[in-house]
């Protein structure tokens, strides 16, 4: 039985169970719902819970375990001769799976009878062509061992599916019987149901932890794999980034330093643009602006934060880049030869970060107590003197935190640098040259090619780990500073 129907069956059982449980509970109270411990709906929900939870747990475990179990069984059944020198067990197994899938499809489309698929020998016609007819392309003709294994695989699979159906349905029935038997007037159904709901809530909350574990797992696992085939020292200290195109062979130099330099250089320019503009906007909006100006300018500035980064990327590539080439290009001073450059990406990223810096600083400046300003005015200071000598020093830790958060945003930004910064990795001080960043290289190393075993693809995970550690460090530091600062005035 397909999983989807099984799913519906269990749900159906749950509905039946709810109705029966509710009737039984009401019956035990002589039809008077006021004599029940809980509202009748809780009795229904309780039985439903008892049907669904164990049955779905069995289903989930079975679905996860069955492929592993069958793979190992079939792999054991394979004779040693099937795995020759130029292949590995994994490749043979993927062949087996593909043939089995092809047989399934052939049966489903009526190209083959189920009996034929089960008993088919290696000599009965060209299997490869027949499978190609149903849309499964095989690399080479099917060897007898693989065909045998594929048939075993299918048999085990269908047997497993039957056993799973039976196991799930039995569990559901058992749950139903248990739930219904519990449904009497003194049973504390509400407490039971609420405990179940609480478990769901806790599970939902811990998805955040699971996500972090998933990130760490995927980064670390592949990074370790990468360092097994590429020396870590060369990665962290290498001054050259020159991956060879995969499949061609030849050694790649995968030094991270040019990428880190590009990342920091672009982020620096972005901060040079966004911090003065953002900070002065925040100061003006919180200290000088009339409520009307504030109500008008603040949301407009924040529109900049709501625009997707792909838009900024396109803006950098097609508007800012050509504009800068016109100003600094060969026709005038000749500093810039192409539109994609550090300065292009930096400028546009700076624009993107303006609202980020300004709204964070705005919050922080507003948190400085009014008494400090009043004290300064009382001593005869002008408004700007108050801001420069009282408000800003008081808000400085918070502002530094905001800038660090903006820096972490800039370092992790992808689309602007992919489109605006260029693809060449170099260590140079010239902002008019194209450079590339960690994020841009993660994208270019992982798109298109799906061969995860080569160092050229795996390096992306090492780059991801580097990026994750840097941004996490900056965030933790920034949040620590901001929190410390908030406590100071609370």
């Amino acid at each position: 039985m397909p999983v989807f129907w099984l799913f519906l069956c269990v749900l159906g059982l749950a509905v039946i169970g709810s109705v029966v449980g509710r009737m039984r509970a009401l019956q035990s109270a002589g039809g008077d719902s006021r004599k029940l411990h809980s509202l009748p709906n809780y009795y229904s929900a309780n039985v439903g819970m008892w049907v669904i939870t164990p049955a779905f747990a069995v289903l989930l475990v079975w679905l996860l375990a069955q492929p592993l179990f069958i793979d190992s069984r079939v792999a054991n059944l394979l004779p040693d001769t099937a795995v020759s020198e130029d292949t590995t067990l994994g490749l043979v197994m993927s062949d087996v799976r593909r043939v089995a899938h092809g047989l399934d499809l052939a049966v489903a489309q009526g190209e083959m009878t189920a009996d034929e698929a089960r008993t088919l020998g290696p000599d009965d016609g060209d299997l490869r062509e027949r499978l190609a007819g149903v849309g499964v392309a095989l690399g080479s003709s099917v060897s007898p061992e693989v065909l045998r294994a594929a048939q075993d695989y299918r048999q085990l699979n269908s047997a497993g599916a039957w056993m799973m159906t039976i196991a799930v349905l039995v569990t559901a029935m058992a749950g139903l019987a248990f739930g219904v038997s519990k449904s009497t007037r003194d049973f504390r159904a509400r407490n039971m149901v609420e405990r179940g709901i609480l478990a769901i809530l806790i599970f939902a909350a811990s998805i955040a932890i699971l996500t972090t574990i998933g990130i760490l797992f995927s980064l670390i696992f592949n990074t370790v794999e990468f360092f097994r085939i590429y020396p870590a020292a060369d990665f962290f200290l290498g001054l050259e980034w020159a991956p060879s195109f995969s499949g061609r062979g030849g050694a790649s130099s995968l030094g991270v330093l040019p990428l880190l330099w590009g990342t920091f250089y672009i982020s620096l320019i972005a901060l040079l643009v966004s911090v003065p503009i953002g900070l002065f906007s925040a100061i003006y909006l919180s200290e000088y602006a009339t409520p009307r100006v504030r109500a008008f300018a603040k949301p407009l500035l924040e529109v900049l934060a709501g625009i997707p980064t792909i838009v900024y990327g396109l803006f950098a590539l097609l508007t800012v880049g050509p504009l800068l080439v016109q100003v600094f290009g060969d026709n005038t001073v000749g500093w810039m030869s192409g539109g994609t450059a550090v300065i292009t990406a930096g400028l546009v990223m700076g624009i993107m970060l303006i609202p980020f810096v300004s709204s964070l600083s705005d919050d922080i400046i507003n948190a400085v107590p009014q008494a400090m300003r009043d004290g300064s005015y009382g001593l005869g200071a002008t408004q700007s003197e108050t801001i420069r000598q009282v408000v800003i020093p008081a808000a400085l830790p918070g502002i530094v935190g905001a800038i660090l958060l903006a820096a972490s945003r800039a370092i992790g930004e992808t689309m602007i640098v992919v489109l605006g910064a260029g693809a060449a990795a170099r260590l140079s001080l010239n902002p008019f040259e194209a450079m590339t960043t960690v994020t841009a290289k993660i994208v270019s190393q992982l798109t298109g090619d799906s061969d995860f075993a080569s160092p050229e693809a795996l390096v992306a995970f090492a780059l991801g780990t580097t990026l994750f550690v840097i941004t996490l460090g900056l965030n933790v530091l920034a949040l620590y500073i901001v929190r410390k600062y908030r406590e100071q005035y609370e």
């Binding site: 809530l201 939902a204 503009i277 396109l314 408004q383 994020t439 994208v443 991801g464």
Partner: protein
């Protein structure tokens, strides 16, 4: 203050308060300068916004228009039979077409010489189009039928002003200078005109041979499918997690761990979520590559922190008196939350969710890693295919177009941005309206 403590020895200089001294003037100037910096900063920020929007609109709006050739054409039964008997059938159709076009032009007093090649360069293979139309609709024979044929992409760009006669080299096989003269004449006769480009909105991606026909429709659908996945997963999970953290969680290390994780996940670069999707969903769980389902899962994990943070804020905004009243009349804590607190917090939660969805809709980087940038030239066939079959998404499609060298695709990319921004804008407006309509101040 007493007289004794006053310093009598140094008489203060006599000066009017109405005349500022140098120091005061300098301080006032500094004050003015400081204010001017602030105004300049805000102006600069707003100027950036204006330039950005201007460049989006000026580059993107032409994508919604296309140049069409509007021709009324009549084919009689005899002509049809004659054409179908000929060896080069489409050639005969083309000849009929040219004859009809010449007559139409002569009626309007315009005389321009042209041949079949020029027609083909201007509006593609007309003969083939006509033949397949009349073969499918024989009842149209003998009657006047008006055709609206899309003009070639270079002609389109010529009328939009991004392509000029200078760009044509000798022996260019796509277009020649005389063709543009013909196009001008046709435009004067009202045969070539501008029309709204529905194909851009409903169509699918095309190859380099037909850049003008590329549309964003399939990727809008892909984005929509992803948003369904994100909404279905992130709203219940986000709300459940927030309820636990805000209403039930005891203060212990486990709760702290969750809190720290949420605030850190909110700041993890989006590309890292792409790596997570690639490694966990595709490498480990063998989910299909390039599928909106996987894209939706990744974006769900990415938007969850945003939704949890805003949901917690709206739960916190419900005053404790509501909870106390419910508990006081005998509700359990669970009943209090689900019957009273949650409904009151719902407008805020929905607003936060829509804003989170809008963020997810514009996200590109993770989609690149899970392979949603392929060439998608077909709509998915079934509803389920829409989730697990390969598809693109709006931002990924825009990136894809931007990376191609043909200027027509560049225009499409800008046009795609307008479509994307319209979606974002309407989502944000819905969120604002929801907040205006339902928000309660306690």
């Amino acid at each position: 203050m007493t007289d004794a403590s006053m310093d009598q020895t140094a008489p203060r200089p006599k000066r009017s308060l109405h005349v500022a001294d140098d120091r005061t003037r300098a301080r006032r100037a500094a004050e003015k300068r400081f204010r001017a910096y602030g105004v300049a900063a805000i102006t600069a920020g707003l100027l950036c916004l204006v330039v950005l929007i201007w460049s989006i609109l000026s580059n993107g709006l032409p994508a919604f228009q296309r140049t069409v050739v509007d021709i009324e054409f009549t084919l009689t039964q005899e002509q049809f039979d004659e054409a179908e008997k000929a060896v080069l059938k489409t050639k005969v159709y083309t000849d009929f077409f040219i004859a009809s076009l010449t007559r139409q032009l002569e009626d309007q007093g315009l005389e321009v010489a042209f041949d079949g090649k020029a027609v083909e360069r201007l509006m593609g293979k007309v003969g083939g189009t006509l033949r397949s139309f009349y073969r499918d609709n024989p009842q149209a024979l003998g009657r006047a039928v008006s055709f609206e044929l899309p003009a070639a992409s270079r002609v389109d760009r010529y009328f939009k002003g991004t392509f000029s006669r200078d760009g044509i080299s000798e022996g260019n096989r796509f277009i020649q200078v005389e063709d543009l003269d013909l196009a001008d004449a046709l435009a004067e006769a009202g045969i070539i005109r501008q029309a709204f480009n529905w194909e851009f909105i409903t169509g699918v991606d095309t190859g380099v041979d037909n850049p003008g026909g590329a549309g964003i429709g399939a990727s809008v659908l892909g984005s929509f499918m992803m948003m369904i996945v994100v909404l279905v997963l992130s709203l219940p999970i986000g709300v459940a997690a927030s309820i636990y953290l805000e209403e039930f969680a005891p203060k212990n290390w486990f709760t702290d761990l969750i809190e720290v994780n949420i605030s850190n996940l909110a700041a993890v670069p989006s590309i890292v979520f792409g790596i997570l999707g690639l490694a966990v969903f595709i490498q480990f769980m063998h989910l299909p590559q390039s599928a909106p389902l996987v894209g939706g899962l990744v974006l769900t994990l990415m938007t969850l922190p945003t939704i949890i943070i805003s949901t917690r804020a709206s739960l916190r905004a419900v005053p404790p008196s509501i909870r106390d009243a419910a508990l006081g009349v005998g509700a359990s804590r669970m009943q209090t939350v689900f019957h009273h607190v949650l409904p009151l917090a719902m407008p805020g939660i929905l607003t936060g969710t829509i804003i989170g969805l809008a963020q997810a809709l514009g996200e590109t980087a993770p989609l690149l890693l899970i392979g949603m940038v392929g060439f998608i030239a077909r709509y998915p066939e079934t509803f389920l295919q829409g989730f697990e079959g390969p598809n693109s998404a709006m931002p990924a499609q825009i990136y894809n177009w931007a990376a191609r060298s043909d200027a027509v695709f560049t225009e499409k990319a800008w046009g795609g941005i307008i479509v994307l921004l319209i979606f974002l804008l309407s989502m944000n407006i819905i969120a604002i309206l929801l907040r205006r309509r339902f928000e309660r101040r306690w």
